[in-house]
Each structure stands twice: as C-alpha cells, then as structure tokens.
Symmetry: C2
Subunit: 414 residues, 2 copies
C-alpha cells in the first residue's frame, strides 16, 4: 500500500475520536504544541537550515529563501498564534437551529467538523503549523502535502506536532505529512474521495488552478483578486485619494490590493491630477485611458490586458467612466469577485453599487485592504474564498465545519 | 460558437438583473408560469407523447416510460407546486449577521443568489420545471441539460417557461436548455468554470459519480443512502418493529430507506423472531448473520457485499451486534453518511450514537424516512446532500444561495 493511502487511512481513522473531543482537550493539545515548539526551536531551526542550504544549492531566489526561513522569532510567533487560537470560541457542537415538526419530531442542526481536510501548499513551512492547528481546533484530521523545498522543515514540524499530540488526549494520527513530494502524490490526492472531505490549496495561481481543474475531491478555492476602486462624481476628494493610495500601496503584493481605479469623468476633470500625483509620489506606475493621460505626466496607455491583470505590484490602471452603471458593468466583467469599493456621497449610487457588484466583499467609503479574516474579527483565517459554495470571502474557523441534523422522536413513522 | 457556450453566456448575462429582482417580481413570474403550464397543457402532452413514442420504439422499459409521462394531472401538480413555492420565504437579501469593527467599519453578511446553476438530469421531465422554478425563486439563472429520452418534453416546457418569463419582469434568458444531449455536451459543461457557479446532477448513481469524478465546476452531490437502523438492548419492542418495518417497506426504492438492521444480541434473543415475522409479512427478503438465522425461516446468509449494498428493494440485511459501540463502528464503516437511526431507552447509548455516528441525519426513536426537505419543513427540496461542504442533508432554498459581505465605512484605510 502506498504511503499516501496508508496515511489517508490513518487520519480518517481518527475522525470519530477527534470530532467528539471536548474544547478543553483541543485547547490543551494546542497549548502543549506551543510549548513543544518553543522547546524544540533549536531542532526546528537546524532542520530548516537543511532546506535553506538545499534551496541555495538549487538556486532559489532570496525572496523564496526568505519565505522558507524559520528562526527563533518566527517560531515564537507560531507558538503565540497557537495560544491565541485557544482563546477563540470553538464552533463545534453549537446548535445552529432547532425546531419541532407537527408530528413531534425535534430537529437540531448542529455544527460538526468536516472530517478529513487535505492541504496542498507551497514553500512557507509555517502553513504546516497553521493548517494543523486550525484543523485540530475544529476537530478535523488533516493530511498535509507541502513542497519539496520545505520537506525537512515540514517533517521536523510534524514530528513536533506528534510529540505534542502524544502528551495530549487527541489521537496523534490526526495530523500526517506526505513525505513524497512528487507531482504524482498531489495528483493522487485529487482522487482520494474515499478519505478526504475537502482539499484546500494554498499557494500561487498555478497551484490553485491545477487543483480546481483536476480534483474530484471538493475544493475550497482561494483565488486571485483583481480588485477595483470606483470614485464616484460625488466622492469626497481627500477620502477618495487616501483610500486609493492605501488600497494600492499599503501592500501591493496581496490579493485585496486594488489593481484598477475607475473614476467618474466629472470628478476626474476636477481632481484626477491630484490623485495621479499622490500615486506617483508613492512610486506607482500609472496606466491610463486617453482621458486620464490628459491629467498627468508619464502615464502609459492602458491596454485591454492590463484591465484583466492582477499586477500585485506598484502598478495601477486608471479608467474613466460616464456613470456608476458603467463602473458596475466594468467590474462585473473584468473583476474576480473578490473585493470592490465605491467612494461616493450619492445614496442611490451606493445602493446600486453594493447590490449589483458581484463580489465576496463590497465596500462603501473604505479601502479594500480589510478583506481578511483578522480584519473581519474572525481571529483566524484559512484563506479568502472566491467561490460561492460553502464559504465566500474571508474564511474563519466556521469554514472548517459542516453540519449534522439530530432528530429526536418517540416512534415516528411515515 | 457552440450552442453550449452561447447559452452559457446568455444565462450568465441575466444574473445581475435576476439577482436584484424583488420577491414580488419573482413570485409574479412563478404565478404566470403556473398559469401558462395550465393553458398549454395540450401542447405539453402532445410533445411529451413524441418522447413516449420514441421511448417505446427504442424499447424503454414501462417503468422508465412511466417516469417520462406528463399527463394533465401531473402538469396540474407542477402548477400547484409553483403556487406553493410563491408562499415560501425568499431567502435572498436577508442580513445573516451584522457587526461593527473597532475602526468603525460596519460589516453585513447578506444572502445572495449563487449565480448560475448548471443542472444535469435524467429521464423525468418534471425536473425541468422543478429546477427552473427553485432557481428563479432564489434569483439564480439556470442552464439545463436533460436526457435525450425527454428532449421533446423538455423543449416544450422551456418554451412555456420563456412564454411566461416574457410576460414577467424577469429576464427570459435566465433559463436555457441545452438541446444537444450528446455525452460531449455534458462533459463540456464540467469545464464551464467561467460561466457556472455550481453543477447539480440529479439522477442515478452512475450519473452522479461521473459528474463528481470529472467536473471542475463545484458540484452539489446528492449521493446514495446505505442507511441503518440499530435496535438497542433497551429498545421498546413494538416501537422497534414499527420503525424497522416503516423504514424498510414504506418506500424501499428511495435513498432514505433502511438497508441493514443492526440488532443488539440481548434484544435479538427475546424479540428478533417477531421482527423477522413482521418484515416477512411485508414480503421482505431477509439476509442475516448466523445468529439471526436461528430466529426465523427462509433467511439467506448475509455476505460482506450485502452490507455495502443499497438494495432499494424489499430486501434487508440483519446483523447482530454485542454493543452500541459495535453498531456505531459498523455504520461508520459501511454507511454512506446519509440517515441512521437508533431505537433505545438507554440515555448514554443514545448520546454516544448521536455524537459518534457520522451522517447527515441521525435519528433517535424514529424512522429514517423523514430525511426529506418537505418532512424537515423546508417547503421545497433540491435534493439530499451527502457531501459535507456547502450543504449537508435535505437541501431547501437556502442551499441555492451564497453570501456577500457589505462593508460600510467613512474613509477607513489600513
């Protein structure tokens, strides 16, 4: 039997014990894990160094090496995050709804773990602890498949997890790492419907697209963000400029950063030059339509491809529009249904925008940078879903749960 | 451009108008459709007759022909169902949660339509009206792909839908039927991620398995039911027998009927012979373990395959067990996580069973036959989900919805 199937069976075998463990037991296990991470820092750093050495040997870029690094500070942050996780409300066992039928059947809808989560992820080894801890907190078993470049770090972290689970009352088989990091094991995971209830890819667009296209196990998709800001005719000038600069430049590499700014032509005629200056002061390259080009220097002509592009960089497209409707239509055509914002003082325009724009998060008078589990107040984040089934938008602990109906009768027959 | 892509674009183009239509507009469209169905009964019956003639010509069995038939009575029932649907609460627009963040951002989580639903289904043409009306009620556009054996009926029904939508304020492009019923169009639908938000297969196990294995569009899976009844040591005799007979024989062909009865040996020693007689009186074939065979005549030895089998017939497996734990373990191994029931007066056994059995619906002292959207009081049913993501168990209108976060600020930046 392959290592993959063997480990899949092992994790699945722990689901009943894990799913019925108490909040106290789960939190204790997380605290033990935090303590083991601190105790075994030296061992983890040493194993991580082997990945770094291999990475340098294989010519990995310094930015990828930086993602790989686990040092004392990063391990302390991981341990801290585990302690914080114990403070979050356990969603499992919560009665979501409860009603009685005319025949006397009492129906309770309760939150339960999903079961077995499969996680396929790239470089960052901290995902190993992050994914395992979120799954354990929600009573889910997890089968991990990280990248070959982080295999020594991931193996070390899972050893630490097992050391911790053995001291806890949770089954230590609940977290397993696939050590064979060949493409074949990832493809094999796509067909593990008998063992996995969901597959979560974490990494770049290629990884996610491959999983979505090939997995017959249901996928939780955390997709790209081609986000827009629309500056309405009635937008307050200072607010519009601050929101635009923040949404573009506060951290351009992330999915909730703005890629295209749509500007009403009337507002543009008066204030666009100020917006352009403010963006250029932050070293943002501007690609604008003909109208936009009149209001500044060094503006590249915007192309159709630019409007579909997630730059993830200090680049922004600016397009002027005649109306809020044109902005809405543009966003629904070019956007990726992630995060979209309007700055406006016109009530009807705001209502139309909020209702008609199809996205996980639609903002009025705020930066799109708040689409994030922590900023939403969830206390944890599995990722930001851009699909419409199961969970949409920032996913907290509840995204790792399902439901079960409990029906209490006294002999009801049909 | 293929007919498929053209129709997919057409339905997708209606989502904004449909998603923002009011409850009143949607209900009016459903009432007009009910009236058109009644008016055009003769036309529908005549087109349906062509499918029946083709079916007979192609040697379709009489039971399949029966599934095809649309007569005046069945059309009247369809129209009635539409009127009832208008009386159900519209889930769209409901504020599910609402909170304010420390920075003053107000976050509202609201119910929205999923967008575009793809429906792949077999013989029964009434699914055309059923699927279209549930989608319209929830503001979803729908791309229908029925079977070749019902193509004339489906085409006629979609013509009636278009006639109705043209008299309503909903976009008439919102419901489209793929007329090419080759296998290729079904396969092509599996890859329509740019147009479809979800694919719902309705039909036999083969159809569902094919869609799950091959679709990169997210699937709502309505799977098989290998359901169990466990009769505990403490079970009230009369209740246990009534529940067993009902769960097996009230309608053996459906997914929530019981396939295996697990009986505690102590109860069995005293009462199993009565249970066997009661089942045999209803012409149920019994396949039992060695212990069971002692308590009746004409009992076939049960095989390992029988225990995995969804008989969907007047056949039941009976297996005796030593404990509630053995019953739970058996169900979690052989079951399909659909509907499972315990008859018991022992409180601890009931708690263990309800908590540890992994299924969409777990019953105490009731027949499994209640796992059904109407029996749950949902007023409508899309199907019974056996997957854990998005929706689990009977799916009512809410299963056809997603959510959107609306964030209201006054210039918040990060």
């Amino acid at each position: 039997m392959s290592d993959l199937i063997q480990k899949a069976q092992l994790v699945k075998g722990t689901t009943t014990a894990l799913g019925t463990s108490t909040t106290k037991e789960k939190n204790q296990a997380l605290l033990i894990l935090a303590s083991e991470l601190r105790k075994q820092t030296e061992f983890i750093v040493q194993e991580n160094q082997r990945d770094i050495d291999n990475g340098r040997h294989n010519g990995l870029s310094e930015s990828l090496i930086d993602r790989l690094v686990l040092n004392a500070q990063r391990i302390e942050e991981m341990a801290d995050a585990l302690v914080q996780l114990t403070e979050l409300t356990d969603p499992i066992g919560k009665v979501m709804e409860e009603w009685e039928r005319p025949n006397g059947l009492l129906i309770k809808k309760v939150r339960v773990p999903i079961g077995v989560v499969g996680m396929i992820y790239e470089a960052r080894p901290n995902v190993t602890i992050d994914a395992a801890s979120l799954c354990l907190k929600t009573g889910n078993a997890v089968l991990l498949r990280g990248s070959s470049s982080a295999i020594c770090s991931n193996t070390a972290l899972v050893k630490v997890i097992h050391d911790a689970l053995k001291q806890s009352s949770l089954p230590d088989g609940a977290v397993q790492l696939i050590e064979d990091t060949s493409r074949q094991t990832a493809s094999d995971m796509f067909q593990l419907n008998d063992y996995l209830d969901v597959l979560i890819p974490r990494g770049g667009k290629n990884l996610i697209d491959t999983v979505v296209a090939n997995s017959s196990v249901p996928v939780l998709e955390t997709g790209a963000g081609n986000c827009h800001l629309f500056i309405d005719e009635s937008a307050e000038v200072q607010m519009a400029i601050e929101v635009a600069v923040n949404a573009k430049t506060q951290r351009p590499s992330v999915c909730n950063a703005v890629e295209t700014i749509l500007v009403d032509r009337i507002w543009a005629a008066q204030h666009l030059s100020k917006l352009i200056s403010a963006l250029q002061e932050k070293n943002v390259e501007i690609r604008g339509d003909t109208f936009t080009q009149k209001y500044g220097e060094d503006i590249h002509p915007v192309t159709e491809e630019d409007l579909y592009e997630e730059f993830n960089d200090y680049i922004v497209a600016i397009k002027t529009v005649e109306s809020v409707q044109e902005a809405i239509d543009h966003i629904n055509q070019y956007g990726t249904t992630h995060s979209e914002s309007i700055v406006s003082d016109n009530e009807q325009h705001v209502v139309d925008f909020m209702n008609q724009v199809d996205a996980a998060a639609v903002y009025h008078n705020a930066s799109t940078r708040f689409t994030d589990g922590f900023e939403f107040g969830f206390g944890a984040e599995i990722g930001i879903s851009t699909q419409k089934l199961h969970a949409r938008g920032p996913m907290g602990l509840e995204a790792l749960t399902s439901n079960k109906y409990l029906l209490y009768g006294n002999g009801q027959i049909k």
